[in-house]
């Protein structure tokens, strides 16, 4: 047996080589597919910090949502692209409304021959013509609780019969006296009392023209399947990205510089002439990316190939820009980007919960007086100027009271010293009120849990320590979500409420209503401020047409707020934006929504291409 079997020569043990398929990684050196094709569509890529949740005009309420809704749906009016201060222009309406002498009846004409985008919700998949019935339907939806509407408060009690319609059970077959279609293209709105801001509200996404077919066809998923007559239609939508493509049924609209309020001396740098005469939307395809991490957002923009337009993260502003107002980019960025700072159409402020007897209104007049002094002391210790420097690159703009500089009732003569801390004054107030480290109430500062809020709180605590507040008496109450924070505010449980207000239209009424007594939580009066004098003035101005008389009253109300200190306000934030050099764009914060149709990537000239 032994002879039969040869001794085997053992091979050396083969080394266990871990051949991992990292070959895939080498692909970064090869060419992207289709990159040599010249018919690849140019896409405008836009980034935002947050994502829309729904695109149903009845519900869309955030800036992100409004941006989408106004790109997809048409409203009666819009703002001019370039005019500052903001100026209205008709969108679906053919002109400004005819208003009756008593200011109660508005008559609107809309364009004929405007069609919805094609969609399976229509009988043969073809978009039908837009009529004023769609507007009436949309307004009724705001008063139908089943639609979970969010814009109802704008028109509450204002349109004749609409609240009664809601009370009667929101039956869409029932007529509303205040919303009448005289014919398919003529709309008549009748008000209960004058509402000078009505036309402003008709630019908002809430008042879009919505085809009833689509809402009924898509049911609960209507918010994901918007069907409008606007410049774009929604191609796809995930939590990370929305893709908009040109609505082929979109009416002919051409860009006119002069009409949009172009001011060559201040806007000439933006290259907007290249847009002149272009049919809108200027791009076939727009991709909106939602990136909550500002680091990701910036990396993606700075790369030069991914995102065309975005904001500069606050933390990086100094690295990117040599000068902020007006924005001047550093040379290495200026080669690639154009930039501009645009002030927010809104502001941040810190409200005191006046319903909290520890700091707000108090039955006992003496305690009420002491509380006022405490609020004054806190305001004197609050350093907007430093907050601006640390969190807003000094780009923010402080304003006393509640009327921000972008509104005509803004009073430039108000004391701006309130914007900087005055420690001596603060301590004097505390002393006057008999407040000592022992008897000072605990300050509870509310916020949703995140890093920036935490830092803002710590800064606030630092200020309070400076005016003599013991560290342990300034505490942070965090909330996991904004919804929970909001609930606590509306339940009047939060003592110090740092919050922001995004304005809905350029009229001070929109901000003064924040202190109107009947608007107390759960309404928009988060401070739960209630002053009969203020309330009386508010009711008086509510129905007044714009004019010097109303402006004077607005200013008077603002001064009452400064005197009573229900709030420490406020600051208008300004965001620096940058975009690739070949992109033609002029950014703005709300009230604008539908800016995306103006975004344009200009083809490179031969010279530029060589460069």
């Amino acid at each position: 047996m032994k002879t039969l079997i040869a001794r085997k020569v053992r091979p050396r043990p083969a080394l266990i080589t871990l051949g991992i398929a990292l070959a895939a990684l080498s692909l970064c050196s090869c060419k992207p597919p289709f990159s040599d094709r010249d018919d690849i569509h140019e896409v405008f890529r836009f980034s935002e910090a947050g994502a829309p949740i729904t695109m149903d005009p009845a519900q869309a309420s955030t800036a992100y949502e409004n941006n989408m809704v106004t790109s997809i749906y048409d409203q009666l009016y819009d703002y001019k692209y370039l005019a500052r201060p903001y100026a209205l222009k008709p969108r679906l309406a053919t002109g400004m409304p005819e208003i009756s002498d008593d200011g109660l009846v508005y008559t609107f004409q809309i364009q004929q021959g405007v069609y919805y985008a094609d969609d399976p919700c229509f009988p043969d998949g073809k978009g039908r013509e837009v009529t004023v019935h769609d507007f009436i339907y949309s307004m009724k939806r705001q008063f139908d609780p089943a639609m979970l509407p969010r814009g109802e408060w704008l028109w509450r009690g204002k349109i004749k019969g609409l609240d009664a319609w809601k009370a009667a059970g929101s039956d869409y077959d029932q007529d509303v006296p205040g919303l009448q279609a005289l014919d398919d293209y003529t709309l008549q709105i009748t008000l209960n009392q004058p509402f000078p801001q009505l036309v402003y509200t008709l630019t908002m996404g809430y008042s879009s023209f919505v085809p009833r077919e689509s809402i009924e066809y898509y049911g609960r998923e209507a918010g994901l399947n918007p069907v409008g007559s606007g410049p774009f239609q929604l191609e796809s939508f995930t939590t990370q990205r929305a893709v908009l493509s040109r609505n082929p049924n979109y009416r002919e609209e051409y860009f006119d510089l002069a009409y949009e309020g172009y001011a060559p001396e201040t806007q000439g740098w933006a290259g907007l002439e290249k847009l002149q005469g272009k049919r809108l939307p200027a791009m076939d395809r727009v991709e909106v990316y939602f990136m909550s991490e500002s680091m990701t957002r910036w990396n993606s923009l700075n790369k030069g190939t991914e995102i065309h337009f975005g904001g500069i993260p606050t933390e990086l502003t100094h690295m990117v820009a040599s000068q902020l107002s007006p924005l001047k980019l550093r040379p290495d960025y200026a080669d690639r980007f154009t930039g501009m700072s645009a002030p927010d159409f809104g502001f941040v402020y810190m409200a005191f919960n006046m319903a909290d007897p520890r700091i707000g209104h108090h039955e006992d007049p003496e305690q009420d007086r002491r509380n006022l002094l405490l609020r004054k002391a806190i305001r004197a210790g609050f350093d907007w100027e430093q907050r601006n420097r640390t969190f807003y690159n000094g780009l923010g703009q402080f304003f006393p009271g509640i009327i921000p500089p972008s509104l005509d009732a803004y009073d430039p003569d108000l004391p701006h010293t309130l914007g900087t801390a005055d420690l001596a004054q603060a301590r004097a107030y505390l002393q006057e009120g008999g407040w000592t480290a022992e008897n000072l109430p605990r300050l509870e500062y509310g916020a949703t849990a995140n890093v920036t809020n935490n830092q803002m709180f710590e800064q606030f605590r630092g200020w309070m320590e400076r005016i003599g507040y013991p560290r342990e008496k300034v505490v942070l109450r965090t909330f996991a979500t904004f919804g929970d924070y909001n609930r606590a505010i509306r339940d009047q449980e939060v003592m110090l409420i740092p919050i922001g207000w995004g304005m809905d239209y350029p009229d001070s009424q929109n901000v003064l209503q924040l202190y109107y007594g009947p608007n107390q939580s759960p309404g928009s009066n988060l401070s739960n401020y209630d002053n009969p004098e203020f309330n009386r003035l508010f009711e008086k101005t509510k129905v007044m047409l714009p004019g010097p008389e109303r402006t004077a009253l607005y200013r008077q109300m603002n001064e009452i707020l400064l005197r009573d200190v229900p709030t420490i306000s406020g600051m208008v934030r300004t965001s620096p934006f940058i975009w690739h050099r070949n992109v033609i764009f002029y950014p703005s914060e709300s009230p604008h929504g539908s800016l995306l149709k103006y975004a344009y990537i200009s083809p490179k000239t031969a010279e530029e291409a060589q460069h």
Partner: protein
Amino acid sequence: MKTILRNFLASESSRESLWSKSFRKFRRDRFGIAALIVVGVYAIIALGVWVGLWGQNWSDISDEGFQGISRDHWFGTNLIGQDIFARAIAGTKTAFEVGLVVALSATLIGGVLGAIAGYFNGTIIDEVIMWLYGCIDAIPFYLFVAAIAFAMQDMPYAMHVAMIATFWSSTCRIVRGEVIKIRNLEYIQAAHAIGVKPLTIIYRHVTPNTFHIMLVQATISFVGAIKSEVILTFLGLGVQDGVSWGTMLSESINEVLRGHFGNFLAASGFLFVLVIAFNMFADALQDATDPKKISS
């Protein structure tokens, strides 16, 4: 009866020798000792913060943010002008607090439940405990922690509770397995036979034999807790009012691109050194207390 007693004594003495042997073995592990010293230094730092010796100025703000490195500010200052070094020092206390609270509670709960489950192996008690940790294991960690943190929001210990609620299960599983083994040993059977009450057996004879496992598990939980704290804080579920390395790292995310590495370096440096020391300590501890390794 005599033999039973002798067995008892033998087991007691062998346990004693196991600990002294482990100690001897650990003492020879140079890495282990070095790691322990590092952990000790951190513990002293944390203790100092706790009693108020240093790191008390972590919340003081100054007018200028992002100051560079100077004698006053060893790692510079952060956005709102707070001294990063003081914050890192104060963060040590937070880390130890989170680590200790979570490690001790989770190990205690896991150990006790594991011992009970193991001792009553096969009975309904065992089934219930197994069911409980089965359920917890079936829910993804971050979802579970986030859910607890939300449900308990506004309570300063929400994060701790969340981590304890998830961390105990692995200790419980391991201790249970070990106890099932121990339970079948002669002397436990004997104790049982002479009528010693089950709880007494568990307390006197079973749990002491799982201490080495619990010790190692506690070190692992400690590291797990301070690492999870970072992610949870980043997600907004962690430390709310106070300072931790997690807050600092979250702050640093947007600072590194701007070229301010103070927060990032301080927090990740402090965290990294502690975690690596703890990991090495845990390793050395495991080596030293592993009876299999002692007998060989």
